[in-house]
């Protein structure tokens, strides 16, 4: 095993909603735990995942197939799929916050880590976190908005890392 070349994974995280925040951090932390070298390039809405305080919400409006279930009560009640049409309900003020709260409670109950926990583990395990300079300029972020240890770069920075990667994912 020692003689094997270290494998590398390169991820582009382009989305900032709660549901899309999970895959990059789950895969990156797990890959690091499997001795891989990992880098994540945060671009467009994904860049918000580098902010000190992650404010990601789920967006029911753009996820019409998202099941709407309650995180409390007996199993039978929890398994009810509520007939809230996300396309319509998603437009009601406060529904996004409500759906986000339900999802976070369900995750906690099912023993799923929070985004913040997974991100901390990524940082502890030396996952490279690269923020996209162009997106920062467009949305008006500065490096001080982000957690410590973030590198800033552009397409060429990511590509030079990804060119030698065994796994490349666009999320």
């Amino acid at each position: 095993m020692e003689s094997k070349k270290q494998r590398r994974m390169a991820i582009i995280a382009s989305k900032g909603t709660l549901d899309w925040a999970y895959p990059p951090f789950i895969l990156a932390s797990t890959a690091a735990a499997m001795d891989m070298e990992v880098g994540i390039f945060f671009t467009f809405y994904g860049l918000t995942l580098l902010k000190k305080n992650i404010e990601s919400k789920v967006a029911p409006h753009t996820n019409p197939a998202m099941p709407m279930k309650m995180p409390f009560g007996p199993d039978k009640f929890q398994n009810i799929e509520w007939p809230f049409p996300n396309l319509i309900m998603g437009n009601i003020p406060g529904f996004e916050t409500f759906a986000t709260s339900l999802m976070k409670k369900t995750f906690k109950k099912k023993g799923v880590a929070t985004i913040e926990e997974l991100r901390s583990i990524c940082m502890e395990s030396d996952v490279k976190l690269i923020g996209c300079q162009m997106t920062m300029d467009v949305f008006g972020f500065s490096k001080s908005d982000f957690i410590k240890g973030v590198d800033i770069g552009g397409a060429a920075t990511f590509l030079s890392f990804a060119a030698d990667a065994d796994i490349q994912l666009f999320i």
Binding site: M1, E2, I26, S29, T30, A33, M34, D35, K110, G111, V112, A113, L118, I121
Partner: protein, 78 residues
Amino acid sequence: MNVNTPQREIDCQGLSCPLPILKTRKAMDELSSGDILRILATDPGSVNDLTSWSNATGHILLSYSEEDGVFVYLIQKR
């Protein structure tokens, strides 16, 4: 003393992917070569996940069993 007496045990019951793997990794980092880690988990996915993790990292999955929905793993550090 049984040769497979674990030096350390971690309880991952009730935790979902990828926490059992991440906690296993963290515990393994604190052990010495040859030490055995005992892991308790309830995530059914952990069977394939811990097998894959052991293969990828070179640690040795000595055994796993299931008792009443609880998976018990013994992994030896390489």
